[in-house]
């Protein structure tokens, strides 16, 4: 179901915004991406369970940065008061996510900022507080820490402390995160856990191009500040059929990517593909794994995970960030609270090591397929 959000941000600017129904949005999207992308025949979709858009099934195989680019085009198109800015975005960005935006929408709406993350975040909050949709890009998630103060102390608390007089719901921070094979300390970090600890922010992480476009559009239109982490490893590597139309995927809803009955695996972002490989291998050994993509980290979908663990009785969480204090700890604690009597084995966490992200040792640091496989086996055989 394509969601059209009726958020206060949009509502209060309704006089300046046009209300779109899905067909109109689609028509506009098609005009923009008309080129050669419209295919007449229907193609199947990847492992994502079911199509959640009622619009056309016309889709093209694109990679992650193109899907994000499409989402940004649509976002800027459908809301004249949305802006995209960040370091180097006007020529297309270092990952090409913002190509074509400046040319199409003008440099007043798509512009470069100087190199000041704290300034970028604070400035975005101000824009959002005035009812605009501010889509800021932090060039690498590792650089988000100067902005952390603004996001935690200002963005998360804006609506709360003003008693809903003001809010910065139009704020979306996009940032590439995660390991890329050669990134080293400052181009590979996964800081999602820091933001998950802040009531008032939402954290969304897609696993694939189709998910990314839908989740990004939903995040932009969500009436709350959202930090959207994009797995940079998948920018070029992941290719998937993505509908050309405007569609959104629901936030705070996890997705069961693969059904199983022996153990539940939970992950997000690039780690999903590693988990999937581990599932395949486990299948060969007779272990049936249920794989869940959390998609939104806070507020996270406890019900889906709980239902799955009630079925399987075992849980394994995997993420790239260091294990101590990572988001896996929250999932583990919550599920144990809810499913204690059902659990057959302790919750396993296969995560990065408790060291700064290493340079040469990246293969040892990462939660690889083999580590996960070992953990699956030891949990099942507990």
């Amino acid at each position: 179901m394509a969601m059209i959000s009726k958020d206060p941000v949009q509502a209060c600017t309704a006089t300046t915004l046009r209300q779109f129904d899905s067909s109109k949005k689609m028509a506009m999207a098609l005009r923009k991406f008309g080129k050669d992308g419209i295919s007449i025949w229907r193609r199947g979709f990847s492992s994502s369970a079911g199509l959640e858009s009622s619009s056309t099934r016309d889709a093209t195989p694109v990679n992650l940065f193109t899907a994000i680019n499409q989402a940004l085009h649509i976002a800027l198109d459908t809301d004249p008061r949305s802006y995209v800015f960040g370091e180097d975005v006007s020529f297309g960005g270092v990952f090409r996510c913002t190509t074509g935006l400046a040319e199409q929408f003008g440099r007043q709406r798509v512009f470069n900022t100087p190199l000041c993350e704290q300034g970028i975040a604070g400035f975005a909050i101000g824009l959002a507080a005035m009812g605009n949709r501010a889509i800021a890009e932090i060039q690498f998630a590792d650089y988000i820490f100067p902005a952390f103060d603004q996001l935690v102390n200002e963005a998360a608390k804006f609506r709360y402390r003003s008693g809903n007089e003001f809010n910065c719901g139009g704020l979306t921070i996009r940032s590439p995160y995660g390991a890329v094979g050669h990134g080293g300390h400052y181009h590979s970090q996964s800081p999602e856990a820091f933001f998950c600890h802040v009531p008032g922010l939402k954290v969304v992480i897609p696993r694939s191009p189709y998910q990314a476009k839908g989740l990004l559009l939903a995040s932009i239109r969500d009436p709350n500040p959202v930090v959207f982490f994009e797995p940079k490893w998948l920018y070029r590597l992941a290719v998937e059929e993505v509908p050309d139309a405007d569609y959104m995927l629901p936030l705070s809803q996890a997705e069961v990517v693969r059904e199983g009955k022996d153990i539940t695996l939970v992950g997000w972002g690039a780690q999903l593909s590693i988990l999937e490989q581990a599932c395949e291998d486990a299948e060969k050994e007779g272990i049936s794994c249920e794989l869940i993509d959390l998609r939104t980290l806070i507020p996270w979908d406890k019900e889906t995970v709980e239902a799955s663990v009630s079925k399987t009785g075992r849980l394994l969480v995997s993420h790239e960030a260091p294990v101590t204090g990572g988001f896996g700890a929250e999932i583990s604690a919550s599920i144990i609270e809810r499913c204690f009597l059902r659990l057959e084995a302790p919750v396993a966490r296969v995560c990065g090591l408790d060291t700064p992200f290493p340079l040469v040792y990246e293969p040892f640091y990462m939660p690889t397929k083999n580590k996960i496989l070992d953990a699956i086996k030891s949990t099942v055989n507990y």
Binding site: E87, D88, F91, V94, N112, T113, P114, L115, C116, Q118, G119, D142, Y143, P146, H182, G183, G184, H185, Y186, H187, V323, T324, A348, R349, V350, C351, G352, L353, D354, T355, P356, P358, L359, V360, Y361, F364, Y365, P367, K371, D374, A375
Partner: protein, 431 residues
């Protein structure tokens, strides 16, 4: 205050008068005064400060244009033969090393993000060759040549780039994080602006040792040099440190390597006032603009700034107009810079300019310079061989140095070191 050399850094009465009169009304006067004093310097580069675009500077020392800014003429070179050869060798080392890095990268021996310094050698050589062993250098991710100029052996730098255990950081830092305690190189920082507060702290420590602990040296205070780029000058940390450094009169020199581009963002489009040197006087310290493609000019300015710092007169902001001949990093296609801009700066290649200067002033012969080239080639080849043949770090090194305890995470409940627990490297053990 002591007399100045040929390089006129805005005179100290600017700073002392400013500190005694607290009236806000006097500040505009000082600013105008300082900039006019600066503009009265018959320095080739001063003209460029008023005329935009920046790349209209003529190098008064090394070019054939005999302006009176240069205290040199065909018969009176600005430097001695020994110094000239030292500078030449250092710049050639920087250039040859970086070119070899590019080769190694494309052959897959080196990985990650590598940022090369080609074209900016004059800044590194001009400043760092004037330092003592105990002076400190803080750099950015474009730090290979700073490390080499400071004295870190090219073998160690190359091994670090290859990620080998014989590298200066035991293979754990990589291209962007060159550290050397022996040579007082406080690092390469991948994050722009992060090194500047670190340098400020190091300068404070030097001053503290000198004034409070009375561990003085005959030369004066130990100086700290902080190198960073034009993009960093729009970052909050830069301004915070300018304030602190001047407030406490720290022996630090802020060296801006203004190469006009921050990846793909032109400095002129990202900065409200692109003349970075002006930000010095705004905080009460002298701000100097110098042609960063001319090593002798840079050296002159550096000499004065370092002398100021050693005397205890406080910080200086030096803006070096320079250019990088390659892209931002080896992964950057470098499509955004215009060819005529690149050509303009390649014509001002600091190494070629110095070579011409040396030969014109008869400081050395062509063949001597060629033998230096050959010697450096051998040094770089040797560095590559050394790095190639060095071992990769053992797996156990992964867990070392997270904390002070070399064994990292302390003792586990079973009485053994936690990092020896076989489950530790699976990420599943309790830590």
């Amino acid at each position: 205050m002591a007399a100045f050399s040929a390089v006129k850094i805005p005179p100290p009465q600017f700073t002392t008068v400013r500190s005694s009169s607290q009236r806000p009304g006097s500040s505009p006067v000082h600013f105008v005064h300082s900039s006019s004093a600066f503009n009265s310097i018959s320095f080739g580069s001063a003209k460029s400060v008023r005329s935009r675009p920046l790349f209209a500077v003529t190098s008064g020392v090394v070019s054939s244009d005999k302006t009176k800014a240069a205290s040199s003429s065909a018969s009176n070179p600005a430097v001695t033969r020994e110094v000239a050869l030292e500078l030449y060798e250092d710049m050639i080392l920087g250039r040859a090393f970086e070119d070899m890095c590019a080769q190694m990268y494309y052959r897959g021996k080196m990985f990650g993000f590598v940022h090369l310094y080609n074209g900016q050698e004059a800044v590194s050589t001009g400043f760092i060759k004037l330092l003592n062993q105990s002076d400190k250098v803080v750099s950015t991710y474009r730090d290979h040549v700073h490390a080499l100029s400071k004295g870190v052996p090219s073998r160690e730098v190359m091994a670090e780039l290859f990620g080998k255990t014989t590298g200066c950081c035991r293979g754990q830092g990589g291209s962007m994080h060159m550290f050397s305690a022996a040579h007082n190189l406080l690092g390469g920082f991948a994050f722009i602006g992060e090194g500047i507060p670190v340098a400020t702290g190091a300068a404070f420590s030097a001053k503290y040792h000198h004034e409070v602990l009375k561990q003085s040296k005959p030369e004066g205070l130990d100086v700290t040099l902080a190198f960073f780029g034009d993009g960093t000058c729009n970052n909050g940390q830069f301004f915070e440190c300018l304030n602190m450094a001047q407030l406490w009169k720290l022996p630090i020199i802020f060296v801006v390597e203004n190469n006009l581009w921050a990846i793909g963002m032109s400095h002129l489009r990202a900065t409200s006032d692109p003349e970075i040197w002006k930000k010095g006087p705004a905080f009460g310290m002298p701000g100097v603009h110098v042609d960063g493609m001319d090593v002798l000019k840079v050296r002159e300015v550096a000499q004065e700034a370092i002398a100021r710092a050693r005397r205890g007169d406080g910080p200086t902001l030096v803006e070096c107009e320079t250019y990088r001949f390659r892209g931002h990093s080896l992964a950057d296609p470098d499509e955004l810079r215009k060819p005529d801009e690149k050509d303009h700066y390649s014509a001002r290649d600091p190494i070629i300019a110095l070579k011409k200067y040396i030969i014109e002033h008869g400081l050395a012969s062509e063949s001597e310079l060629k033998s230096i080239d050959k010697k450096i080639d051998d040094v770089v080849e040797d560095a590559v061989e050394f790095a190639d043949s060095s071992p990769l770090p053992p797996r156990s090194q992964l867990l070392e140095n997270v904390f002070a305890d070399p064994k990292g995470f302390g003792i586990g409940p079973d009485g053994k070191y936690r990092c020896e627990d076989p489950l530790f490297t699976q990420g599943t053990a309790q830590v």
